[in-house]
């Protein structure tokens, strides 16, 4: 029963997030970039539901546009990190030997740097744009993905059905695709949903350090960092994007758990 409540909440929150993004394409309360110096740091009111920021920009509008940009960055980064990481982890764990040693040395070398520092360095090289942030964060989170996938594969490759596939004369690629990957999906899915959260937070950290998505475009992350100086005079500035991040992460994580349960073959007819 708890399980279905979780999945309903998960679907609800993610649905809400998608709805907000969709509405943002056709309608926003105000132009999120329009500066109005007569109404700076206004408290939430009927005119400005979530108040205005230091430049008089409407916080609600910026949060809605920020949802689009932050989600897009998170989805792209997770897709890239999980896609490449799964492929490499699968190959390393299944083939073992030299392939594994080379791949794991590479991944451990990346792991030796703190993720955020690595991303920072990469963004400085690639330049501050949405694409370079995606690439930098994906590379920073790659080693974790490779490790998780390889770990799952190491245990799956010892199961009888993998050997049975070998006895049947199947090639390594086919066995990996048909037998190993489907059974490694649950941990990968859990990782993907947690990654989603880490990426949103890392993006805000990058913004905080001044190499995130360049202003004036809003993301939840850079809204948070812009709000910091006004924490005591205009707390709504940090509360609004903060709540957005919490709701999105909660929704995605619950949805991920629900999907993982559904992936369990024992639950299928």
């Amino acid at each position: 029963m708890r399980r279905s409540a979780h999945s309903i909440l998960g679907f609800g929150l993610v649905g809400l997030l998608l709805a907000v993004i969709a509405i943002g394409f056709v309608w926003l309360p105000y132009d999120p970039l329009a500066i109005d110096l007569d109404h700076t740091l206004a408290a939430p009111s009927f005119a400005h539901w979530l108040g205005t920021d230091a430049f008089g920009r409407d916080v609600a509008s910026r949060a809605m546009l920020g949802a689009r940009i932050s989600t897009l960055i998170a989805v792209e980064t997770v897709a890239l990190a999980i896609g490449v990481g799964t492929a490499l982890g699968l190959v390393a764990g299944f083939l073992r030997g030299w392939t594994e040693r080379v791949l794991m040395t590479f991944s451990d070398a990346l792991l030796a740097f703190p993720g955020i520092l690595l991303a920072l360095a990469l963004v400085s090289v690639l330049g501050s744009s949405r694409h370079s942030i995606v690439i930098a964060l994906a590379i920073a989170y790659l080693p974790a993905t490779i490790r998780v996938v390889r770990g799952a594969v190491l245990s799956i490759r010892e199961r009888g059905y993998v050997e049975a596939s070998r006895v049947a004369g199947d090639g390594a690629l086919y066995t990996m695709w048909r037998h190993v990957l489907p059974n490694a999906l649950p941990p990968i899915l859990v990782l993907a949903t947690s990654l989603f959260g880490w990426v949103i937070l890392s993006e805000s950290a990058l913004s905080f350090l001044g190499v995130g998505v360049p202003p004036p475009a809003p993301t939840w992350g850079n809204m948070l960092s812009e709000a910091r100086p006004y924490m005591y005079v205009a707390s709504w500035l940090s509360i609004a994007p903060g709540l957005c991040i919490v709701a999105a992460l909660l929704g995605i994580n619950m949805l991920g758990d629900a999907l993982r349960d559904r992936l369990d073959p024992r639950d299928r007819p």
Binding site: R159, G160, E163, S165, R166, V167, G169, D170
Partner: protein, 539 residues
């Protein structure tokens, strides 16, 4: 009659989820002090459940719905907290099935032995040490003093089960519950552990409740037996009486399922072609990885030469660690050889080209021991069996489907294509595994302990099925097992392996009638089911 040590009255166990039938119903029995009682039944008969209920150790998801459990005149079914903990361990000891996981791998043996003594008896360290060493000697652990400082992974399964036994008996409980204590062990260690268990409980006056599915053990080691079927007690009585003249049809069925030879198999013609020939095969396992290079490799198969003729069933017998499984896998090219060669129809399988390898994979198949891990959980049965035909050239999708349904029909699973493995019982899964192996019409099947994970009645069905298919199809079979009773039922020839070398080889009849090597004789003597079939034979 003296007052019973334990009296269970009208015990009923139900699942927490409403609407399911009870798992155990109206079970009443008593155990006298010092008595040796067996509870037998197949998986799902509730025998484990019944004994777990005694020290109140039922798994989550089930509960005791009715009944009393009176131990030494006190109803312990309502006890809680300290009162209950005083009974557990001190008065009622438990030995579980799995010696690999029932000892804590992170603590030395000495600490684990001392735990119970300190908790229940409050002895001094010196006293605890003295008693631990004494008990380890009694379970015949060499170097008992050194053993205290060692860790569980340094011991084999049989040794660990002895240590487990020592730790439980240290407290001199009045009742010892042993739940399939030797199922995970090979025949030789099984016998040693059980004999120790019986001798020590006799000495200490401890009553023994032995839960098992193995009637051979029941006959040899217990005085009284209870037979459970689907949660209901169907028969109870003196072991000798029950086994000699079972009253309930279920008991009769259990006894009838013991493997035994039926008629004689037509002899393999002397000029039958050699299908598989293993010459001086050696297989190594890599040594422990060291800091700079791995330690010396461990030789598991050491120079085995063996032939399997077309249509012949050769049993590969040995205790665990004898290298029999490794040899079977090497025979199919699943383990690289360190020396020697494996030839299939005269062709060295290492030197096969792509097409040759594909043909070999079609002609030689494997049946795994564990039907739970050998079937991919995410596929349907039809897909699993069909996967074996993927490399069959010139087969259309329709022909393939046709072949899958024929094959499933042959193993008695017609119409199971759309099921998934988790919806099937162990016996059905093993039938699927057999279907997968025979779908490509192979000429050789290597079967690695294909029935040892199954209940006796199911074991018999699967063995009969294998025999029937073998007769019809005429494939050769390398049958790996530690169970000599099974060997006697199906094999033409027996090869006995000890520490990676062949110690005896010959036709099944000859080896069983006149075992030449001491190791074979020990194996035969330790086989409880064989002893039982001899007892039952005159009837």
């Amino acid at each position: 009659m003296t007052a019973p040590l334990l009296a269970i009255d009208n015990l009923r166990i139900e699942a927490d989820r409403p609407g399911l039938p009870p798992l155990l119903e109206g079970l009443s029995f008593a155990v006298a002090p010092g008595e040796r009682l067996a509870i037998v039944g197949e998986s799902g008969s509730g025998k484990t459940m019944a004994t777990r209920a005694i020290p109140r150790l039922l798994a989550t998801g089930v509960h005791r719905a009715a009944g009393t459990i009176v131990f030494e005149g006190r109803d312990i079914s309502q006890s809680e907290g300290a009162e209950l903990r005083a009974v557990r361990g001190a008065d009622i000891g438990l030995v579980f099935q799995e010696p690999m996981t029932s000892l804590n791998p992170a603590l030395p043996i000495g600490v684990q032995l001392a735990e119970g003594l300190k908790l229940h008896r409050g002895l001094s360290d010196a006293e605890v040490r003295a008693r631990s060493i004494d008990m380890l000697r009694r379970v015949q652990i060499a170097d008992a003093e050194g053993c205290l400082a060692r860790y569980p992974h340094e011991f084999s399964g049989g040794m660990r089960q002895r240590i487990m036994l020592a730790s439980v008996l240290l407290l001199e409980p009045k009742l010892l519950i042993a739940d399939e204590p030797t199922t995970a062990l090979d025949t030789l260690s099984q016998r040693e552990v059980l004999q120790l268990m019986v001798a020590l409980t006799n000495e200490l006056g401890t009553a023994l409740l032995l839960i098992t599915h193995d009637l051979g053990l029941v006959a040899e080691y217990t005085e009284r037996v209870l037979v459970l079927e689907k949660g209901v007690l169907v028969e109870e009585g003196r072991t000798a009486d029950v086994l000699a003249s079972p009253k309930h049809p279920y008991t009769a069925k259990l006894i009838g399922s013991l493997p035994r030879r039926e008629g004689t198999r037509a002899a393999i013609p002397a000029d039958a072609p050699v299908l598989l020939s293993i010459e001086d095969a050696k297989v190594d396992y890599p040594g422990r990885p060291g800091l700079f290079r791995a330690g010396p490799p461990k030789r598991v198969v050491d120079g085995v030469t063996l032939e399997v003729k077309a249509g012949e069933i050769v049993a590969l017998v040995g205790a665990s660690g004898s290298g029999k499984t490794t040899l079977g896998r090497a025979a199919l090219g699943l383990k690289p050889l360190a020396g020697g060669s494996i030839r299939f129809e005269g062709e060295d399988i290492v030197k096969l080209d792509r097409a040759g390898m594909r043909a070999f994979r079609r002609d030689a198949q494997f049946v795994f021991q564990d039907p739970f891990s050998s079937l991919p959980p995410h596929l349907r049965i039809g897909e699993i069996v069909g996967a074996a035909l993927r490399h069959q050239s010139g087969m259309s999708a329709t022909e393939r489907r046709q072949r899958v349904s024929e094959t499933l029909d042959e193993v008695g699973l017609a119409g199971f294509e759309d099921r998934r493995p988790h919806q099937m019982s162990g016996g059905q899964r093993q039938r699927v595994a057999i279907a997968r192996a025979i779908a490509s019409r192979p000429r050789l099947i290597v079967a690695d302990e294909p029935v040892s994970a199954l209940d006796v009645t199911i074991q018999r069905q699967v063995l009969t099925l294998l025999q029937k298919l073998q007769r019809e199809r005429g494939f050769a079979c390398l049958f790996i097992t530690h169970d000599l009773a099974v060997v006697e039922q199906i094999a033409d020839r027996v090869v006995v392996l000890e520490r990676g070398r062949i110690v005896e080889e010959g036709s099944t009849d000859t080896v069983f009638a006149e075992p030449q090597h001491a190791y074979t004789r020990r194996l035969l003597a330790a086989s409880p089911a064989l002893a039982l079939t001899e007892v039952l034979a005159p009837q």
